[in-house]
Symmetry: C2
Subunit: 346 residues, 2 copies
């Protein structure tokens, strides 16, 4: 796969988004989330999403802007209506509101209504961490997981993230998971690239385990821990979808749906650490925890959530790979919009 400079991804994303009428500040957030995905090893949530956003904007399925009108307001709680704008823009602004409320009330909760996929949940949780807050982030998503005893997908892979401000060493703990054994984006990418998927990720439409990415997309993803993953996915569907006034119970649609809006919702919680104890005490404790967990294994073996992502760029010289299938789609975008194509390093 060819490598692309991060700065070139940034340039391309900003030009494409603003050319399509996305406000500059919103384009910056979306671009930051795309770069975050690529630089943390989650390229499935990266630049490959851009052609989808642009198509949906052009066909009226997504708004260029993301209005965030408050529809519920109750001191430490707000629900903001994204009116089918960008998920990242809604979730970052929503988390900022939750952070601000947590500074007054100790905790702040924001629900986002009528939204779209927000990229990686770790990106949103990191917004809380930067403000020295604990962030808890959930989103519901299009049906992909079936309930135990069924083969019909009814719940999303529903991402869930916890972000914890760093200790003395400056390394936050950011834990980000999809409730399926694998993220649906990975299966979609495998399908796009004509690759097989590992066993245990999914079943086909008849409930039979499969390694075909295409068959998996037509079937159902397997949740972690069987009934436990099902319960988690259902809980996230209620908190992020049902409670915020968004779609739920199988009603949310994939970001790349051809005719319908996604209408997913987000649940964003911020906790002000400094209300519990002096920030220095917290940092000392987190450092102690990190050391205890790491020293429970042989030196260098045990890593903390977020560590692998943070190290992803260590030896990559400011470049990341893109698959040929994604590059081809981006070339179509640049041709359509009259932008210089994405330039790889050779």
């Amino acid at each position: 796969m060819p490598d692309f400079p991060i700065r070139e991804l940034q340039r391309f994303s900003m030009e494409a988004l603003t050319k399509c009428g996305v406000p500059l500040e919103d384009a910056e957030i979306v671009t930051e989330s795309i770069v975050f995905a690529h630089t943390t090893g989650k390229g499935t949530h990266g630049l490959g999403r851009l052609p989808i956003y642009l198509r949906k904007i052009q066909s009226g399925l997504m708004r260029r802007d993301t209005p965030l009108k408050p529809v519920v307001s109750a001191l430490a709680l707000e629900v903001l209506d994204a009116d089918h704008g960008f998920g990242q823009v809604a979730a970052v602004h929503g988390m900022q509101r939750a952070i601000s409320m947590s500074e007054t009330y100790g905790v702040g909760l924001v629900g986002i209504r009528h939204s779209n996929n927000f990229g990686t949940a770790a990106f949103i949780a990191s917004a809380a961490v930067k403000a020295n807050k604990i962030g808890i982030v959930m989103s519901n998503a299009a049906p992909a997981i079936s309930a135990p005893g069924s083969t019909t997908p009814i719940l999303g892979t529903n991402p869930l993230a916890f972000g914890f401000p760093s200790g003395d060493d400056g390394s936050p703990i950011v834990f980000d998971m999809a409730i399926s054994n694998a993220a649906r984006g990975k299966i979609r990418l495998a399908a796009a690239n004509g690759e097989e998927i590992p066993e245990g990720w999914a079943v086909d439409e008849n409930g039979v385990p499969t390694t075909s990415a295409e068959a998996a997309l037509a079937g159902a993803m397997l949740p972690i821990g069987g009934a436990k993953g099902y319960g988690l996915a259902l809980s996230v569907d209620i908190l992020a979808g049902l409670l915020t006034g968004s779609a739920f119970g199988g009603g949310a649609k994939n970001l790349d749906h051809k005719t319908d809006r996604s209408d997913c919702g987000h649940f964003l919680l911020a906790i002000d650490v400094s209300k519990f104890m002096a920030l220095q005490d917290y940092q000392e404790r987190i450092s102690r925890l990190s050391k205890a967990v790491k020293s429970s294994g042989s030196p260098g073996v045990v890593i903390l959530p977020g560590e692998r992502s943070r190290r992803y760029m260590d030896d990559r010289n400011e470049t990341v790979p893109l698959t040929p299938a994604v590059v081809e789609k981006l070339d179509t975008v640049s041709a359509e919009l009259g932008l210089p194509p994405l330039e790889s390093i050779r």
Copy 2:
């Protein structure tokens, strides 16, 4: 296994606890949690815990009362110090505070410091549900799960529960999980009864998969979803343990530890549904969700979290089984305290 009337379990628990100096109202909460465990099919968290409580009270490792002194207070946030009293008493009172705060602020967060095992997390989440609030409940626990790449347990099975008020049909969704593939209580019970455990639950002290309950207790439990369960367990350890000022990072001890206090902590969040929408709208949505999920499978096959527990007593005629090993320990308790022994139905 002999069957025992629920009312007899209640009688025995109340008499034993109050005889040991537990205040009447606290004994009622502990007894209610014990009965809840037995009547929802989670007998591992039931009357078998009583001899442990009594021994710990007598040896000064647990307090008879549970003082709950506020040590942090910030509008929608409180931390209460249980000073090594009963986990159930602390968590039920803590959830009541969270509920009350949520009615003013939309959301209420309570941390419990220096506590003990609170029984089933579903019991605590149900306290929120009864008040038409969503309850999120977490507790850290003694190390039982190892981090990926290590065989030394460093994190607890750390229970996690979500309770959602019911829809039109009066059936709340209460989802309760341990982060291990199996609850540690089940392995302890298997060890006490000399039974084997299923594959996939645990590894021995060398990291080799085992079906021996004894070897599992000396080894480590396996988390759901590998690194995902590890990340969840770590997140709960920070929220319930580190943040509340309790033990964390492997420092919490088992309830039945012979010489040390447990010092675990709890994280209790209540969300006032009626701040999001009229309660009737919420109920209509939860009913719609329940129907959508259930109708995703063949009739009667898909069940909702909490449904199996709620139906556990359906054909049991107000009696539950106790294992001979538990009955023997309870007979020792009644002999020591001069109480009538627990009477089974014959």
